[in-house]
C-alpha cells in the first residue's frame, strides 16, 4: 500500500518512490505467449476462446487462401519467364491477410506494406485486376507507373502500396483521426513486417495514434526475416508485442499461421479500436516461406530444410483446410475443383493482361499535380518530338 507521503508529483502524474535501486530487467522471465485456437494439425483446441466463423465465411476464407497460394505460384512463374518484371509472394502468410481481412468491414481502411494482397483478394479485387497491375497495362488503376504488386484500390478502401517501409504507419494515424472526427464506425488497419518496426516511422505512427486516440490496428507480420536479416539482427526485444506498452498501446501476440486465431484477434481488436477509440497492436508470428521477392534467393542466407519444414509442417493453408474439412464444410472434390478453376482463371487473366495495351504516353505526365504545370507541358511536347525522330528508342507497345 502506498501512503500519500510515499508518492511524489511530477509532470506526467504521481509516482510512488522507492529507496531500493532496481533496474527493470531488459527482458521478462518468459516471453509473451502466443494466442492460438487451432493445433498445428488443424484440430480446434478444447475450451479455447475464439470468435466463431460462419460456414460461408470459413469457406470463403479457405478458398481465398488457396487462390492466393495459386496466384502467387503462377505470377512468380510469370516473372521467371520474363513476362512480368517483378513479383513477391505471401507464401506462409496466407492466413494473416485473408483471416484479418475477413474480420473487418468494407468500411475499414487498409494501409498495407506490400505482402498483403490477400486483403484485396478478400475484398473482391479480381485476378484480372491483379494481373493488370503486374503487367502495367492501361487497365491498371495505377496507370503503369509502379512496379508489380504495388496495388491500390479506392473502391476497396485499400491505399496504394509504396515501396518505402513503414511510411504508412503515421499516415494510418492521420486517416484514423479523420474517421474519429467523422464518428465513423470504422477503423484503419495498417500492416508492417518485423523489419519495418525498426524504422522511425513505426515509432512515429504508434506514438501519434496513441496520443491522438486514433482507431487504428497496427498489424505486424513477424515472419522472421527482412530480406536476409533475421530478427535476431533486427531487435533485442521480445519481438514486437512488448513495444505496445511503451506507447500506451494495448497489444496481443497471435499465431499468424492460425487463421481462426488471427480472425478472432482482429475482430476483438476492431471492436476495441472503434468502441474505445484507441490504437491496438497485433503481432502475428509466422514464417516467410518464399524468398523476399523474385530478386532474392533465400537459400543463400538460410537453410533449405528450415524453409521446407515451414512449408510442409507449419503450412497455414493445410492447417485451416484440416479444420474446415473436419467440420464437414469442405471436401476433396471441392478442393480439386477450386484449384483447377483458379488456375485456369489466372492463366486467362495473364493472357488478357499481356495482350492489353499499355497506358498511352500522355499518362507519363498526368497526375503529377492536379493540372500539369507549364514545364511539364513543354517537356511532353519536346519528348513527343524526340519520339518522332527516334522511334526505335522507345517501346512499341506504348501509344504515343
Amino acid at each position: 500500500m502506498t501512503l500519500a507521503w510515499q508518492s511524489v508529483d511530477f509532470p506526467g502524474g504521481k509516482v510512488s518512490y522507492t529507496s531500493e535501486m532496481s533496474f527493470i530487467s531488459e527482458s521478462s522471465q518468459t516471453r509473451v505467449p502466443c494466442y492460438r485456437v487451432l493445433e498445428d494439425d488443424g484440430d480446434l483446441i478444447s475450451d479455447c476462446d475464439f470468435q466463431q466463423v460462419s460456414k460461408e465465411d470459413a469457406v470463403k476464407m479457405y478458398s481465398n487462401m488457396v487462390t492466393l497460394q495459386i496466384m502467387d505460384n503462377i505470377f512468380y512463374e510469370a516473372q521467371r519467364q520474363g513476362r512480368i518484371s517483378f513479383y513477391l509472394t505471401s507464401a506462409g502468410e496466407e492466413a494473416i491477410s485473408i483471416a484479418s481481412a475477413a474480420a473487418l468491414s468494407e468500411q475499414d481502411i487498409i494501409l498495407p506494406q506490400y505482402r498483403e494482397p490477400g486483403v484485396l483478394l478478400w475484398r473482391g479485387f479480381t485476378l484480372q485486376e491483379f494481373a493488370d497491375q503486374c503487367f502495367g497495362n492501361k487497365a491498371d488503376y495505377g496507370k503503369g507507373r509502379q512496379m508489380p504488386i504495388h496495388y491500390g484500390s479506392k473502391k476497396h478502401n485499400f491505399f496504394t502500396i509504396s515501396s518505402p517501409i513503414a511510411t504508412q504507419l503515421p499516415q494510418a494515424a492521420g486517416i484514423a483521426y479523420s474517421l474519429k472526427m467523422d464518428n465513423k464506425k470504422a477503423c484503419v488497419v495498417s500492416y508492417i513486417g518485423d523489419g519495418g518496426t525498426s524504422e522511425g516511422d513505426f515509432h512515429a505512427g504508434l506514438n501519434f495514434a496513441a496520443v491522438m486516440e486514433a482507431p487504428v490496428i497496427f498489424f505486424c507480420r513477424n515472419n522472421g526475416w527482412a530480406i536476409s536479416t533475421n530478427v535476431s539482427e533486427q531487435f533485442r526485444s521480445d519481438g514486437i508485442v512488448v513495444k505496445g506498452r511503451a506507447y500506451g498501446i494495448r497489444s496481443i501476440r497471435v499465431d499468424g499461421n492460425d487463421a481462426l486465431a488471427v480472425y478472432s484477434a482482429v475482430s476483438a481488436a476492431r471492436e476495441m479500436a472503434i468502441n474505445e477509440q484507441r490504437p491496438i497492436l497485433i503481432e502475428a508470428l509466422t514464417y516467410r516461406v518464399g524468398h523476399h521477392s523474385t530478386s532474392d534467393d533465400s537459400t543463400k542466407y538460410r537453410q533449405l530444410d528450415e524453409i521446407v519444414y515451414w512449408k510442409k509442417a507449419r503450412n497455414p493453408v493445410n492447417r485451416f483446410r484440416n479444420w474446415v474439412q473436419n467440420i464437414g464444410w469442405w471436401s476433396e472434390q471441392q478442393e480439386t475443383q477450386l484449384r483447377n478453376s483458379v488456375r485456369k482463371q489466372l492463366l486467362e487473366a495473364i493472357q488478357v493482361a499481356e495482350k492489353t495495351e499499355k497506358p498511352p504516353l500522355s499518362e507519363l505526365f498526368t497526375d503529377v499535380y492536379d493540372h500539369p504545370p507549364s514545364n511539364l507541358e513543354e517537356q511532353e511536347k519536346h519528348l513527343r518530338e524526340t519520339v518522332t525522330r527516334h522511334p526505335k528508342d522507345y517501346p512499341s507497345d506504348i501509344s504515343v
Partner: protein, 366 residues
C-alpha cells in the same frame, strides 16, 4: 499602382540598420485595399490566414509542435481557443510523424495544415514529403491524393526559414532548393504580410501538397496594410515589383527587401533595375522572368541559401537556355556561401546589399 511600406530593423549584427521602405509595386485584385485593411506584421497576417482557413472549412486542421498555445512565433495564436482542441492541437515532437499524419488527414479529404517549428528541422519529414506526399496522386493513378475531393482539401506544410541575425546553423537555414527538386509538390515563399496571407490561403486551398516557407526575420519586423477579408493570391505567378530596363533581379522572401535597397542605390548611379518576386519556386513562372530578361538582357539572382545547387542555379540554367542570344552578360548569383550557416560570421555569409550592388554594376559594365 499603390505603394505599401514595410519597415523593419535588422538587429544583432552589431549595428542597427534602418530598412528602406519596401514597395509592393503591383497590387493584385484581391490583395489591394478594398474594404478594411489594418497595419499588421507577418505573423499576424499568417494568423489571420489560418483563422480564415479554419472558419471557412470545418475540415481544416492545424497541428504541429507547440501550436496550441499560439506557437513559438505566435502564428497560431487564438486558434485553439476558437476552434477547439480537436482541430488545433499539439503533436508529439516528431517531424516525420507530423507530416505522415498530415498526409493521412489530407488523403481523407481534410485540409491538413502542418507546422514544422523551424525549416532546419524539416529533414526527418523529407521521406514523407518526397516519397509519399509528392507521389501520392501519381502512384495511385489519381485514386488517392493529398488531395482532391469535392471539397478540394490538401496538405500544407508551413515552416519558418531564413536568417534571423543570431540563428546559427539550426535556426537560419533556407532549404527550399531540396524541395524544388521534387515533382509533385509546390514550394511557396512570401515576401511580406499581405503576400503571406493571400499566398497561404491559396496554398491551403490548393489540391496539391505545398511547402510554405515563412521568412522568420520578417515575422515581427515587416509591417504592412493587410486587408481583413478572405483573399487569395495566385500560385506560380511571379510579380514584377519594381520596373526597370537595365537588369532583372530575381529573388523571394526576405531577400527581396535587401535587393530593393540595392536597386535604389543602383538607381543613383543611373542603373534602372527591374525586381521580380518569384513567390512560387515550384512550379515557377519562367514566362515572367523570361519576358523581363528579354527587355533588360541581364539577370541577377539572389538568395540566402548556399550558392552551389541553390535554386538560383535552376533559374540561371533556364534563362540561359531560353534567352542566350539576348543576354549581354553572364547570369549573376549573389547568394550565401557554401558553408553551414555561421553565427558570428553571419554578416560575412549573407548576400548583402553591397554584394548585390557590386554584382549589378559588374553585370551592367560587363
Amino acid at each position: 499602382m499603390g505603394l505599401r511600406n514595410i519597415i523593419g530593423k535588422r538587429l544583432g549584427l552589431g549595428l542597427v540598420r534602418r530598412r528602406k521602405p519596401f514597395s509592393t509595386a503591383t497590387c493584385d485584385g484581391d490583395g489591394n485595399g478594398n474594404g478594411n485593411a489594418k497595419s499588421i506584421n507577418l505573423y499576424s497576417a499568417i494568423n489571420q490566414a489560418l483563422h480564415i482557413a479554419l472558419e471557412t472549412d470545418n475540415r481544416a486542421f492545424v497541428f504541429g509542435e507547440d501550436v496550441s498555445f499560439g506557437g513559438v512565433f505566435r502564428c497560431t495564436t487564438g486558434l485553439s481557443d476558437r476552434f477547439g482542441k480537436a482541430r488545433v492541437f499539439n503533436t508529439p515532437l516528431c517531424e516525420q510523424g507530423i507530416v505522415g499524419f498530415g498526409i493521412g488527414l489530407a488523403a481523407m479529404g481534410n485540409r491538413a495544415i502542418a507546422e514544422i517549428q523551424f525549416a532546419d528541422y524539416i529533414y526527418p519529414a523529407f521521406d514523407q514529403i518526397v516519397n509519399e506526399a509528392a507521389k501520392f496522386r501519381y502512384r495511385s493513378g489519381n485514386q488517392f491524393n493529398c488531395g482532391v475531393s469535392n471539397k478540394f482539401p490538401g496538405l500544407t506544410i508551413r515552416a519558418p526559414y531564413g536568417a534571423v541575425g543570431h540563428g546559427g546553423h539550426y535556426h537560419s537555414q533556407s532549404p527550399e532548393a531540396f524541395f524544388c527538386h521534387v515533382p509533385g509538390i509546390k514550394v511557396v515563399i512570401p515576401r511580406s504580410p499581405r503576400q503571406a496571407k493571400g499566398l497561404l490561403l491559396s496554398c491551403i486551398r490548393d489540391p496539391n501538397p505545398v511547402v510554405f516557407f515563412e521568412p522568420k526575420w520578417l515575422y515581427r519586423l515587416a509591417v504592412e496594410e493587410v486587408p481583413e477579408h478572405d483573399y487569395m493570391l495566385p500560385l506560380s505567378e511571379a510579380e514584377v515589383i519594381r520596373q526597370g530596363s537595365d537588369i532583372t533581379l530575381v529573388g523571394w522572401g526576405a531577400q527581396l527587401s535587401v535587393m530593393e535597397q540595392a536597386c535604389n542605390e543602383a538607381e543613383k548611379d543611373g542603373i534602372s533595375c527591374e525586381l521580380i518576386d518569384l513567390k512560387t519556386l515550384l512550379p515557377w513562372d519562367k514566362e515572367t522572368v523570361e519576358a523581363s530578361v528579354r527587355k533588360t538582357g541581364r539577370v541577377l539572382i539572389s538568395h540566402e541559401a548556399p550558392v552551389t545547387g541553390g535554386f538560383g542555379a535552376e533559374i540561371s540554367a533556364s534563362i540561359v537556355e531560353r534567352c542566350f542570344l539576348r543576354l549581354e552578360a553572364p547570369v549573376a548569383r549573389v547568394c550565401g556561401l557554401d558553408t553551414p550557416f555561421p553565427l558570428v560570421f553571419e554578416p560575412f555569409y549573407m548576400p548583402t546589399k553591397n554584394k548585390i550592388l557590386d554584382a549589378i554594376k559588374a553585370t551592367v559594365n560587363y
